[in-house]
């Protein structure tokens, strides 16, 4: 168990600024997930921690030791790659024992470590096979096993589940979380899948364009995103965003949004810095939308209902009330309703929300509503 500390890490690829001033401290035993859209720098950051990619400036410490210029093999890390990167000509056992063999450990110790890891991952029956003879899930286990045998201070995972099918991904997700509890090791995990991030992480690091946007516990990030980007990135279906203009700030924030009656958001952040007339974005999670006619309402036509059994996702056209940047690529409003039969498609609904649930984002993307506490 070791901590990882990044201080002012910068990375340029020629003129491209891949990592911008990254400061991050990861506690011993913590499971940190780095998420962000493709090209946000999350894999680059992981490779920099691994030492596979040199940083331009800044400092990387692992277990209190400055490893900024240390070879990957001497950083006390192990890495699981997206393509698994197993050595194709070695058997499973040789793959898993290779790191120890390079360290010139005695044969008996290598065998014991390989066997122990294989038992944890339930791959003892394929130890003599070559990677080419294994299924995707087995290869993934071997890759994890290879990391375990080296007893690293820190485990690094680079989108390890992205090549697996949905069922296997869920299974491996649970196994990885269990493994983390069992080993108690520090783990840094990169993914673009927000479900993996929300379910596995002690803390999530959201990255965009080489910069850390927000760091925090999954629910904290979900409940209190610092900006429009984090709010839109976490949560599926995605938050509804509506563009509007600020009318008055005398009691909370009163705004006009095309297609809605006047809305007053009750609690603003202390340092909101808003002025009447400012352009703002109103944000509403789909699960905060309702059709019981209470709160601020507007009529809408139900376009499509996806019934998922436990819940239903509704897409409704609300005339002048249009969402921007939705994940469906349409201007429909997304609603997430609990169990129960949704209204028939094509019917007219009164969609509405409680202004206390709403988020407000300033024109530069900052969240300007007051932090929300746990319900």
């Amino acid at each position: 168990m070791s901590d990882v500390k990044l201080t002012s890490v910068q990375k340029y690829y020629a003129a491209f600024h891949a990592l911008r001033d990254i400061d991050l401290t990861i506690q011993p035993g913590e499971f940190v997930v780095m998420v962000g859209p493709s090209g946000c720098g999350k894999s680059t950051l992981l490779k920099s921690i691994a030492g596979l990619s040199d940083i331009t400036s800044g400092r990387i410490e692992i277990a209190g030791r400055d490893v900024t210029r240390t070879d990957p093999g001497e950083r006390g890390i192990a890495m699981v790659f997206q393509s698994y990167a197993l050595y194709p000509h070695m058997s499973v056992a040789q793959n898993m024992g290779f790191g120890l063999k390079i360290m010139k450990r005695p044969r008996a110790e290598i065998d014991a470590a390989v066997r122990a890891a294989a038992e944890i991952l339930r791959i003892t029956d394929v130890l003599d096979k070559k990677p080419g003879q294994l299924s995707g899930g087995q290869r993934q286990r071997v890759a994890i096993g290879r990391a375990i045998t080296r007893r690293p201070d820190v485990f690094l995972f680079d989108e390890p589940l992205s090549n697996l099918d949905a069922a296997l991904r869920t299974q491996m997700r649970v196994e990885l979380a269990t493994l983390h509890k069992r080993l108690g090791a520090t783990m840094i995990y990169v993914t673009h899948d927000q479900v993996e991030a929300m379910t596995m992480a002690d803390r999530i690091v959201v990255l965009r364009a080489g910069r850390i946007e927000q760091v925090g516990a999954p629910l904290e990030l979900y409940r209190n995103p610092v900006n429009h980007f984090v709010a839109s990135f976490l949560g599926a279906p995605r938050m509804n965003f509506f563009e509007g203009r600020l009318r008055d700030l005398s009691a909370g924030a009163t705004l006009e949004v095309p297609g809605l009656p006047e809305v007053t958001i009750p609690a603003l952040a202390a340092d909101h810095g808003l002025r009447p007339g400012n352009r703002v974005t109103l944000g509403l999670r789909p699960e905060h939308m309702r059709i019981d006619g209470r709160g601020v309402t507007t009529p809408a036509t139900l376009r499509l209902a996806e019934e998922l059994g436990r819940e239903s996702v509704l897409y409704a056209d609300a005339g002048a009330l249009r969402t921007t940047g939705s994940d469906t690529g349409t201007e429909s409003v997304t609603l997430l309703l609990g169990a129960g039969t949704p209204p028939p498609e094509g019917s007219t609904l009164q969609i509405g929300f409680d202004p206390a649930d709403a988020y407000l984002f300033a024109e530069d993307g900052r969240t300007v509503t007051a932090p929300k506490s746990a319900p």
């Binding site: 070879d71 192990a78 197993l86 194709p88 290779f98 790191g99």
Partner: protein, 293 residues
């Protein structure tokens, strides 16, 4: 009815597509080889009637000292050409480093490949020239008198093979460079995380991934060594006194200059038999790899 027609078409398409290549192969390779063997059982000047002599051409070969010199030279070619793949690999590893000037180095190493064998031969004749060649200059620099390698029956074959080795090494280098470019970046990364460095990285992670390429480089070098002919013609014409002649060159001389097509065909058949060993080995490996894939 429908089923049989479909299955017929199923079989007809590959057969049709293979036909042109197969036909060419039958005429140019198989027929020529059989015909050569047939000719080798005759005495023939290339114009007049062929006289059946049975295996006496082969019996004559056995007693011909020039045949043994040629065979020995072919063995030397083979042995020296064995160096081409490892040398090519070494240079490929060197120029594959991400250093600024390596592009220039790469093109320089690549150069002999774009030169024709005749040009390479002529360059090396100059290089070996004992009065004004580069080799002579080197020897003078150390105060020694330069040997006339192309006139020495001890050194001449080595001198010619060395010249032929130059483009062969370049060829192997290109093969290995292509192979190095297809290496899996993440596997190399995994090796670095496992702390494999230098020799261990090369031996355990890089080389196993280059096995296919190494096999092709070796097979092509072996076959190239056996069929070498043109550079001998340019540099020494097989001399002095036949001491740099190999089987291919001897065949050419016997057939076209001594008008002994039967004897030349016997030489060709022996050379073919030797080559078969390598070709069969190559094909068996290829088949085995394909079956396991």
């Amino acid at each position: 009815m429908l089923r049989t027609r479909r299955s017929l078409r199923h079989r007809a398409t590959p057969a049709l597509l293979l036909a042109p290549g197969l036909l060419l192969f039958l005429v140019v390779i198989v027929f020529s080889a059989l015909r050569t063997f047939w000719i080798s059982l005759h005495a023939w000047d290339g114009f007049g009637p062929m006289t059946w002599v049975g295996l006496s051409n082969y019996a004559e070969l056995w007693g011909d000292p020039q045949f043994w010199v040629s065979l020995r030279n072919n063995v030397i070619w083979l042995a020296v050409f064995l160096l081409a793949p490892p040398m090519g690999l070494a240079i490929a590893l060197l120029v594959n480093q991400k250093i600024r000037t390596m592009r220039l180095a790469k093109s320089l190493f690549f150069m002999p490949l774009v030169l024709s064998t005749v040009t390479v031969g002529v360059i090396f004749v100059w290089f070996y020239d004992p009065s004004y060649g580069l080799l002579a200059l080197l020897f003078h620099a150390f105060g020694a008198s330069p040997p006339a390698v192309l006139s020495s029956d001890t050194w001449v074959t080595f001198a010619v093979v060395f010249a032929a080795l130059w483009p062969q090494v370049a060829f192997c280098m290109i093969l290995f460079l292509a192979g190095l470019n297809t290496l899996d970046e993440e596997i190399i990364g995994a090796g670095r995380v496992d702390n494999a460095r230098g020799w261990q990285m090369l031996r355990h992670i890089v080389l196993p991934q280059l096995r296919q390429v190494a096999f092709i480089a070796l097979a092509i070098s072996m076959i190239g060594a056996l069929r070498s002919f043109d550079i001998i013609a340019v540099m020494t014409s097989g001399g002095p006194f036949g001491s740099s002649t190999n089987l291919a060159y001897q065949m050419y001389q016997e057939s076209l200059f001594s008008y002994r097509f039967g004897y030349g065909a016997a030489l060709a058949t022996v050379l073919f038999a030797i080559m078969m060993v390598f070709i069969v080995w190559y094909l068996l490996r290829l088949l085995r790899d394909e079956r396991s894939a």
